[in-house]
């Protein structure tokens, strides 16, 4: 009688019951709701706590549900996926929160006037004023630091990868590692004692730039070294076998092949030193007026400006601090975008 149903009742070998695609979303919502419920009952008020409990419930819930319906192997896979998602959120939430706070507080302050005026003659409790002098100082100091540190760092990395053998190379590597660990305030104190106290120069943007260069150099060396190591040895040999001298092989083949990565590394180092406050505080001193000469007299810089305005503590100065913080973030971000553009433009092409 049952000749119409050909489909056998046996379970197929390769396909098994699967959770629908929206299942993770449902589990996520359910665990969030559950965690809020638990927290309200227990009287916990911290939203961070809610989130962490929800994350935990989400991982456990995914495992339990998947193990029940799909099987243990799939459940383990799902747990790994959930953990990746949870970690991603844990990393992104503070970032977004930081960006949001800065933008919402700073956007109302930053305008053409703010970017084009200094604090000259502006009282702490006055509205108005701007970051022009600090932005100018930051650009000049970072530029000088980069001009000092990038070539030295690049050449050191070339030495370590292409020439360095034996004791000297090991010593250089060791000191580069030590330099990576120098706290910025120590770099500032070093330049302060050497340049200002012993040699007798005065506070200047250049003094700050030297401390920034000390901080930048090891980062450039390390990243450039890694990038140069990635260049296949076959390319060096191909060039040498054409009768090209070693130095030309390095400048014309090895460095161009790695230039994208090197640029990114230098830009990350620039981003790192742009936000440094301590050495600038010691060496550049801070100033309310525009000083375009980095070799003479006190300057300001964006992080120092933020620190000082926030320290004053009036409503207007705190607004200005947020505005400067936003300017700083935007400045670093624009630099990074430019660097990425250069890296993409210069990267080895593979297209057919």
């Amino acid at each position: 009688m049952s000749q119409t149903t050909v489909t056998p009742n046996r379970s197929p070998v390769f396909s098994s019951s699967r959770l629908p695609r929206w299942a993770p979303a449902v589990i996520a919502v359910a665990s969030l709701a559950l965690s809020i419920g638990i927290s309200l009952v227990a009287g916990w008020e911290s939203k961070v706590q809610w989130g962490l409990i929800a994350a935990l419930l989400f991982v456990i819930g995914s495992y339990a549900v998947t193990a029940r319906i799909e099987g243990r192997r799939q459940a383990k896979d799902r747990v790994a996926t959930s953990l990746v998602w949870v970690c991603f959120l844990l990393a992104v939430v503070p970032l977004l929160s930081l960006a949001w706070t800065t933008i919402s507080n700073g956007a109302q302050v930053v305008d053409g006037y703010f970017l084009s005026h200094s604090m000259n003659g502006v009282l702490n409790s006055d509205p108005g004023g701007g970051v022009y002098h600090a932005l100018l100082g930051t650009i000049e100091q970072v530029l000088i630091a980069t001009v000092i540190a990038a070539p030295i760092g690049l050449l050191t990395a070339v030495y370590l990868v292409e020439y360095g053998k034996g004791k000297l190379a090991r010593a250089v590597t060791f000191f580069v590692d030590v330099m990576t660990g120098i706290p910025s305030i120590v770099a500032g104190l070093f330049v302060l004692s050497f340049w200002i106290l012993i040699l007798g120069f005065s506070f200047s943007g250049f003094a700050g730039a030297m401390a920034l260069a000390i901080l930048m150099m090891p980062v450039v060396v390390r990243s450039t070294e890694e990038m140069l190591k990635l260049v296949p040895n076959e390319l060096r040999e191909a060039s040498l076998a054409l009768g090209v001298p070693k130095w030309k092989t390095i400048t014309k083949i090895v460095i161009p092949t790695a230039i994208g990565g090197i640029t990114t590394g230098v830009m990350l180092a620039v981003a790192r030193i742009t936000g440094e406050t301590a050495p600038v505080l010691l060496l550049v001193f801070g100033s309310k007026i525009i000083n375009g000469n980095p070799f003479e007299g006190a300057q300001s810089s964006l992080p120092l400006y933020v620190y000082q305005e926030y320290g004053i503590g009036t409503e207007q100065s705190i607004d200005r601090a947020w505005g400067a913080a936003l300017t700083l973030i935007a400045f670093v971000m624009i630099l990074n975008l430019v660097a990425r553009g250069i890296a993409r433009w210069k990267a080895p092409k593979t297209g057919r």
Binding site: K165, P232, E234, L235, R236, E237, A238, S239, L240, A241, L242, G243, V244, P245, K248, T249, K252, I253, P256, T257, I259, K346, P348, K349, T350, G351, R352
Partner: protein, 258 residues
């Protein structure tokens, strides 16, 4: 244009490890000489001593004499860079420069050596690409990156790059081992044409290939792992493959090895 290579008593080391010992042979100009032998017997090492690429490897060291016509490559005061301009090399895996276009890859040797006139460059590139049987395939896309070509085309591009600097000798280290039979055929035909102008030395694991392309064949072997490789015999290819004078050669060629 092509030159004779005369090797006598050549021993090469990697730091303290002796890779090849006491090799002497003559490579005739305008001929193809093939090196065969089991892996690790020092064929490639020996090949790299012929243009002083061996010493590029950290710890690489050479004793003995390599005469190119009447000049010792290992004589005092010889600049390895000028040696490599005379003795070009093609590697096992195609390695075009990834930052350069097809044109720039071929022109690289001349440009980087700084000795060219701009007007000559176009001619040299076309001549080299024609010489490498690649011109017709790439003439419409000389400005595209070299790494966009197929493996066989890339290898011919590398050959074009090597012959663009007009070396006297061309060393090839298993140039077809990463290629399919059709590309291999293209390269083998090319070797046949190139030997009109160059002295060619080729390392190969493919015995049929050695029999097809070479005029003379050298068989290398090593007594045991960790022992240095040695030249067992070198003779006309026909003789090596039909009636070798050493039993080990015959065993290796007929597959009765070990």
């Amino acid at each position: 244009m092509a030159k004779r290579i005369d090797v006598s008593g050549l021993t090469a080391y990697y730091s303290t490890f002796k890779a090849i010992e006491d090799i002497s042979m003559t490579v005739e100009p305008r001929s193809v000489t093939a090196f065969i032998g089991p892996s690790g017997c020092g064929k490639s090492t020996f090949l790299r001593t012929l243009n002083r690429m061996h010493e590029v490897t950290p710890g690489g060291r050479v004793e003995g004499k390599v005469m190119l016509d009447d000049e010792n490559l290992y004589g005092s005061g010889v600049d390895p860079v000028t040696v490599r301009r005379e003795v070009g090399m093609v590697f096992q895996r195609p390695n075009p420069f990834p930052t350069m276009s097809i044109f720039d890859n071929v022109a690289a040797g001349l440009r980087l050596n700084g000795s060219y006139k701009k007007s000559e460059l176009n001619d040299v590139v076309e001549k080299s690409l024609r010489g490498a049987n690649l011109w017709d395939e790439v003439k419409d896309r000389l400005n595209r990156p070299g790494s966009g070509l197929s493996g066989g085309q890339q290898q011919r591009l590398c050959i074009a790059r090597a012959i663009a600097v007009e070396p006297k000798v061309l060393l090839m280290d298993e140039p077809c081992s990463a290629l399919d039979p059709i590309s291999t055929l293209a390269i083998e035909d090319l070797i046949g044409e190139l030997k009109e102008h160059f002295t060619i030395v080729i390392v190969t694991h493919n015995m049929q290939q050695a029999a097809r392309v070479s005029d003379r064949t050298a068989f290398f072997n090593l007594a045991a792992v960790g022992q240095p490789g040695k030249l067992i015999e070198i003779d006309d290819t026909e003789r090596i493959f039909s009636n070798p004078s050493v039993q080990a050669t015959e065993d290796y060629i007929s597959g009765r090895f070990g």
